[in-house]
């Protein structure tokens, strides 16, 4: 077993049951690398997961304390937990459905409050564990099992949403950018506030088959890589391109939510103690 997995994961629960060619395992490995390089120990981090491919395949692999929330609500659970345990780092691994659809409201408000959590949004551009339906991050026009004629809605990037809502660290990367991802996650962990890391990764079984016409993992990886550059290796322009890298860095520029509440208590209690 890999050294980092040995240090941080539960041997009986890895490898996960993720499909062949899925990047959830490698992304988790990179998260461990970032955690390790940040000097964090098992007991320093609480690991939370959402529902879907990402939640199910990552839940309980972490060797320390874990929670898997109901669909979309990991951020709401984490908000209460952070208030109760402000001394802990909370890392959440959620999917595009969790973050940008069913739990979008919690995402917006956790960002607004600057809740001290690191949200890793692993985006496979659809509801893949339920068989491959489109999500708000499926590129417009692409074929999925619930958009057989092409997805007709405009899609969006949850990074834009959390930047507008007040997140203090926001970055985007992909499953083909190992070093960049580790660097970004380390920066996210160093922000005592709301950090959002958007990581696109391929689903070869569903999105790959329906939208790209291929279950070849390398082809799927290449498709993602091309779209981070806006150009294929042959020099052809892609239909659209994602911007990756740090999108917003206001790390530690405003107080974290549970600290705001504790400061409020100090102020209120000082006023109570003051002579009338």
């Amino acid at each position: 077993m890999n050294k980092l997995a040995k240090k941080y994961l539960r041997p009986e629960l890895v490898p996960t049951k993720a499909c062949q060619g899925c990047a959830i395992g490698s992304i988790e490995h990179w998260l461990l690398q970032a955690i390790d390089e940040s000097g964090l120990k098992l007991e320093d981090v609480i690991f939370g997961a959402g529902i879907g491919c990402v939640g199910r395949q990552t839940f309980a692999t972490w060797g320390g304390d874990n929670f898997g929330a109901t669909h979309g609500r990991a951020l709401a659970v984490a908000t209460g937990l952070k208030v109760a345990r402000p001394d802990k780092q909370i890392m959440l691994v959620v999917g595009d459905g969790d973050a940008s659809s069913i739990g979008a409201s919690h995402l917006v408000h956790a960002a607004r409050r600057n809740v001290g959590v690191t949200v890793i949004c692993e985006d496979n551009m659809g509801y893949e564990s339920t068989g491959g339906q489109f999500s708000p991050t499926t590129p417009e026009g692409y074929v999925t099992n619930s958009s057989p004629y092409g997805m007709v809605e405009q899609s969006f990037d949850p990074c834009d949403l959390v930047i507008a809502a007040g997140a203090t660290f926001v970055a985007e990367t992909t499953a083909v950018q190992w070093r960049q991802t580790v660097k970004i996650v380390k920066m996210a962990l160093a922000n005592d506030g709301f950090s959002f890391v958007h990581i696109r990764f391929p689903c070869v079984q569903n999105f790959g088959a329906s939208a790209l016409g291929s279950r070849d993992p390398l082809y799927n990886m290449e498709w993602i890589h091309d779209h981070t550059k806006g150009r294929t290796d042959d020099g052809e322009e892609t239909d659209f391109a994602w911007t990756t890298g740090i999108k917003h860095d206001a790390s530690n520029s405003r107080p974290e939510y549970s600290k705001v509440l504790r400061d409020l208590n100090t102020r209120v209690r000082a006023d109570m103690d003051a002579p009338a």
């Binding site: 060797g63 109760a84 509440l261 109570m272």
Partner: protein
């Protein structure tokens, strides 16, 4: 079971024990806030809604004073999940809402119940469906509070107060049961009991309540989720102490790992249902009057029970052998209180008939169970008195305007 005359609830004794304090004229929402504080509340998370809004306002003022935290959630879904998260972090927690918000909480209800997370939920019922009339009382969540999650395979604990003073004590009791049973306890109150102001005694020093308040403990070892086990008084699990506990929405192993296995499903269900069923006597709370000679028993809970009780007293003065049974613990349903083969008159604030169906199921003869439903406004003493007389004499309900009697 032979019913005890008077009040059968822990606070029957608490009220005798605690006499030093202050007497106030305050609302049910205030009593509820203070009851929670007295029980050791650490975090309140909720979304304002009439008639529970005052609870949020009181909490926002009170909690910072005791180094607790008021979280105003983006919706009720978030509010109850925040509570569950804070409870896992080791705090006693509460949320409060009314019917429209209560339905949104079901997602979190199931999650908290399956993970055995202590949470106290207040539902101040108003007339529905949906938004209904915000300032009118209702009793439409009798079944919803029982079936507060999908998927079956659970038992729930629901308590209902009928006065401002009782709201204070019952709230402490709700927190105690949540800790002891490691589950969600619902306080099913209503617009009348939460909004109205009346006499309220509060102990002078909540520190004196240490003898009656169950403190939060932390379970630091396996098994985190004992299967096929109905023990109560187990310490709740905690996240943040490095125990390696796993909580999730899935059917779980004793470690909390998700598993798709029928043995695990059955072991989990045994625990969730039988920890409550096997200790039902620890939950039973009621008030009974006149049952030693009663021929007809009026059954009610919450606000409705106030006029019904007066009506029973009036009917007795008029020579009707009437009894009064007020349910305080609504779920698990107290079948044992309805074993006597008598006439029953069930009064509640809905036209569809909810409590009455359970009384029909539990009573020896369902043909002797009569229904008196009103919608949006209280039963009057005269109406209930007339009904008691008619049921006792002719075994049928009288025709009365805006009162529904049919249960289909």
């Amino acid at each position: 079971m032979t019913l005890t005359e008077g009040l059968v609830a822990p606070w029957a004794e608490w009220q005798e024990t605690y006499q030093d304090g202050q007497r106030l004229l305050e609302a049910g929402t205030y009593a509820l806030t203070e009851g929670a504080v007295a029980a050791g509340l650490g975090v309140f998370a909720g979304y304002p809604i009439t008639p529970a809004t005052d609870i949020a306002e009181y909490m926002s003022k009170r909690l910072p004073q005791i180094d607790g935290f008021y979280l105003q959630a983006e919706d009720e879904l978030a509010g109850m999940h925040m509570c569950a998260g804070a409870s896992l972090g080791g705090q006693k927690v509460m949320t409060a809402t009314s019917g429209p918000g209560f339905t949104l909480m079901h997602d979190a209800y199931g999650w908290a119940i399956v993970n055995e997370i202590p949470v106290v939920v207040v539902d101040a019922m108003r007339v529905g469906p949906v938004s209904g009339i915000t300032g009118a009382p209702g009793q439409g969540e009798f079944y919803v509070s029982r079936y507060c999650s999908h998927g079956g395979n659970i038992e729930t604990i629901v308590l209902s107060p009928n006065s401002v003073q009782e709201t204070f004590w019952l709230t402490i009791d709700a927190f105690n049961l949540a800790e002891r049973f490691r589950t969600v306890v619902t306080v099913l109150t209503d617009q009348v009991i939460s909004d109205m102001s009346e006499d309220l005694f509060l102990p002078g020093d909540y520190g004196d309540l240490a003898d009656i308040v169950v403190p939060r403990r932390h379970n630091l070892e396996m098994p985190f989720f004992p299967g096929n086990n109905s023990d109560i008084d187990l310490a709740p699990n905690v996240i943040g102490e490095g125990t390696g506990v796993c909580v999730s929405p899935y059917t779980h192993t004793e470690e909390g790992y998700d598993i798709e296995d029928m043995e695990a499903q059955w072991a989990q269900t045994f625990r969730l249902i039988n920890k409550i069923r096997h200790h039902k006597e620890e939950i039973l709370r009621y008030e009974a009057i006149g049952l030693e000679d009663a021929e007809v028993v009026a059954v009610a809970y919450g606000a409705t029970s106030r006029t019904v009780k007066t009506a029973v007293e009036e009917a007795r003065r008029q020579g009707v052998k009437a009894g009064f049974l007020r349910l305080i613990s609504l779920w698990p349903f107290p079948d044992e209180l309805l074993e006597m083969d008598l006439l029953y008159l069930v009064c509640e604030l809905n036209y569809d008939g909810q409590l009455v169906r359970e009384v029909m199921r539990a009573a020896p003869d369902k043909k002797k169970v009569h229904f008196m439903g009103k919608s949006g406004e209280m039963h009057t003493v005269a109406e209930v008195c007339e009904a008691l007389q008619s049921v006792n004499k002719d075994q049928k309900m009288p025709e009365q305007p805006f009162i529904w009697t049919e249960v289909r």
